[in-house]
């Protein structure tokens, strides 16, 4: 889907911040991903148009960055850290638990991620880039369930405004 009029206006004000429109590719891709739930080929073509480059350029850039999802990933992106602090205090167990629990759930995309800069409160995860720390597996699942049931309000899948 192309940018809604509101998001198009946001995109244009983002572009205006930079001396060179090309700098706006990453922020625009975040806006597109929040809007559509993933980064579509169509969105990348539109971004290319807006910043004055080719769709291939935008795709090449965006494929470098792990936050951009190239296929639909549901409403919730659950990012579980298993890096070296979380590793020794239960991160991998949380990942396994959530992976099993939501394996067949199209709304929840569980991914293993690198250090989230939350090691002081490890183990940690993010749900749509909102932090949840000091976890155990059951608690992590309860938090994801709270997002699913609407008790907790998620950000956009790119961590944009709620």
């Amino acid at each position: 889907m192309s940018f809604t009029p509101e998001n198009l206006a946001r995109a244009q004000s983002v572009i205006a911040q930079y001396p060179d429109a090309h700098s706006a590719i990453l922020p625009l891709a975040h806006i597109a991903q929040d809007q559509d739930g993933w980064l579509t080929t169509e969105a990348m073509a539109e971004i290319a148009d807006l910043v004055g480059t080719t769709p291939a350029d935008v795709q090449g850039v965006c494929s470098f960055y792990t936050m951009y999802k190239r296929r639909p990933c549901g409403k919730l992106v659950v990012s579980v850290c298993t890096n070296v602090t979380c590793l020794v205090v239960g991160g991998p167990e949380i990942l396994e638990h959530l992976n099993d629990r939501y394996a067949a759930d199209d709304d929840v995309f569980v991914e293993e991620v690198e250090c989230l800069a939350a090691c002081g409160n490890a183990p940690a995860m993010q749900v749509n880039y909102e932090y949840h720390e000091h976890l155990v597996p059951e608690m992590a699942a309860a938090i994801v369930d709270d997002y699913k049931s609407g008790v907790l309000q998620p950000r956009g899948v790119s961590g944009g405004l709620k």
């Binding site: 960055y65 800069a117 961590g159």
Partner: protein
């Protein structure tokens, strides 16, 4: 040169004082009531950029992003009379176990904005970019809000406080790539490209964003400036030992009783930091090893020489070869398998390698694969030797610290620090674990998504 000054074992909260003492310091009113933007107002009133440089020089401040480069020397290297020039703040914090910048970004964003203002003024810069790690969603909201509030209150924008000085601050979000913390990769990313490090020279200070002179500094570095100007450079330099002046926000995690950030004066020993300041290990278990400066440098172990090492940038490198890097300290107890930790680090570097140069792109992947089987019960008796020879392709003279590199940037050799640490301190344990290996077994080669 050993400095024998005795440092008291306690926190010295300068950069982190407000975020501890003021409730919701991220809100403008609260930060302002605590004195935010007061130093900036003084700086504008005096209008003396040369004095700012002199104070920072006297302070001995060295960059807190990991490379310890003296901030004043960076500023002095700015080519004269080339405009526009840019300031870029590095808030990409992605080094495993490093979480100190996030504290400032989320809890005291006005401290960062004030530091940015002062730094821009000192360097004659009218446009600054704050590059935040993409995953910092709350941090992004907080910093954007702080810039907005600062503008609304006349601290940022056109002709600030009638001084004739203008500053525009753009907050830019990354999108998940550790390598964008490397300053030239960060600049590429800021220009809307793949975050791949540039071949240097030229350095960013000569040719950075849009090929213009660019000062890149870490979040903690910029946030420290305000305090240096407030205290006076000479006074700040009284803190710390040797050429490691002032305080460092250390991020301490792992099997530690009280993990978290601790702002410490340089000069304590690791024994004091781990056992006194942080209360020792969880459940009073015995220490096995610790990483003294983030994930990229050699480890230290439970012995007097290492525990009595002073927290001093130059002293630790001179004596033990390792560095204080990103300011993170990771602590592991006796239950920890060092090979597993080395593997997880290697997996990180293999995943985050940007792929621009062959030794890193291929080498980190192979190091990861070998460490994977070693740490998952499939190690072979020859694996450690294989690992060392693979490592030599990325970092010749494998055991040397600080490491050497065949690569464009230091990411490639970073997992070799872990390999060298295994070889130096855990060889017997590694050999024992790999003695029963089953040659020829299919190894689960993991593909990073």
């Amino acid at each position: 040169m050993t400095d024998t000054k005795k440092i008291e074992v306690r926190e010295t909260r300068i950069v982190t004082r407000r975020l501890h003492d003021v409730v919701d310091a991220w809100k403008y009113e609260n930060a302002r009531a605590d004195g935010a933007y007061q130093i900036w107002a003084d700086v504008l009133r005096k209008g003396d950029a040369a004095d700012l440089l002199a104070q920072v020089k006297a302070s001995g401040l060295r960059g807190r992003g990991g490379a310890n480069f003296p901030t004043a020397i960076k500023w002095e290297s700015l080519p004269a009379d080339v405009f526009p020039r840019y300031l870029v703040i590095n808030g990409d914090e992605g080094e495993p176990s490093t979480f100190k910048d996030r504290e400032i970004i989320e809890k005291d964003p006005h401290a960062l904005v004030e530091g940015v203002c002062i730094e821009a003024f000192a360097c004659g810069i009218n446009k600054a970019f704050i590059y935040l790690r993409g995953e910092f969603a709350l941090g992004y909201d907080r910093v954007v809000n702080a810039v907005k509030e600062a503008s609304a209150n006349g601290w940022v924008g056109e002709n600030i406080q009638g001084s004739g000085f203008s500053l525009d601050i753009v907050v830019h979000r990354g999108a998940g790539a550790y390598i964008c913390g490397e300053e030239s990769a960060l600049i590429e990313s800021l220009e809307g490209k793949r975050g791949m490090p540039r071949i240097k020279p030229p350095l960013p200070i000569h040719s950075g964003v849009y090929a213009k002179p660019t000062v890149v500094n870490n979040v903690e570095t910029a946030s420290t400036l305000t305090h240096i100007i407030k205290m006076g450079g000479a006074e700040y330099a009284k803190l710390g030992v040797g050429r490691s002046t002032g305080t460092r926000v250390a991020a301490i995690s792992g099997h530690i009783k009280n993990p978290g950030i601790y702002e410490i004066e340089f000069g304590m020993t690791f024994r004091e930091i781990i056992f006194e300041l942080c209360g020792g290990l969880r459940d009073d278990k015995e220490l096995k090893f610790f990483l003294p400066g983030g994930a990229s440098f050699q480890w230290l172990v439970n012995c007097d020489e290492h525990l009595d090492q002073v927290y001093d940038i130059d002293d630790i490198t001179a004596k033990l070869g390792t560095t204080l890097g990103s300011g993170a300290i990771m602590v592991y107890d006796q239950s920890t398998d060092p090979v597993l930790v080395a593997w997880r680090l290697a997996k990180f570097y293999a995943h985050e390698s940007c792929g621009k140069c062959t030794p890193c792109r291929e080498g980190t992947g192979w190091i990861e694969k070998i460490l994977y089987r070693m740490s998952h019960g499939q190690g072979r008796p020859t694996d450690m030797e294989l690992l060392l020879s693979m490592s030599a392709n990325v970092s010749p003279d494998v055991l040397r610290a600080p490491f050497t590199q065949t690569t464009i940037c230091p990411l490639g050799p970073s997992p070799v620090s872990a390999v060298a640490s295994l070889e130096k301190y855990f060889r017997a344990e590694v050999d024992a674990a790999c003695s029963g290996g089953r040659p020829g077994i299919a190894v689960n080669v993991r593909v990073n998504s």
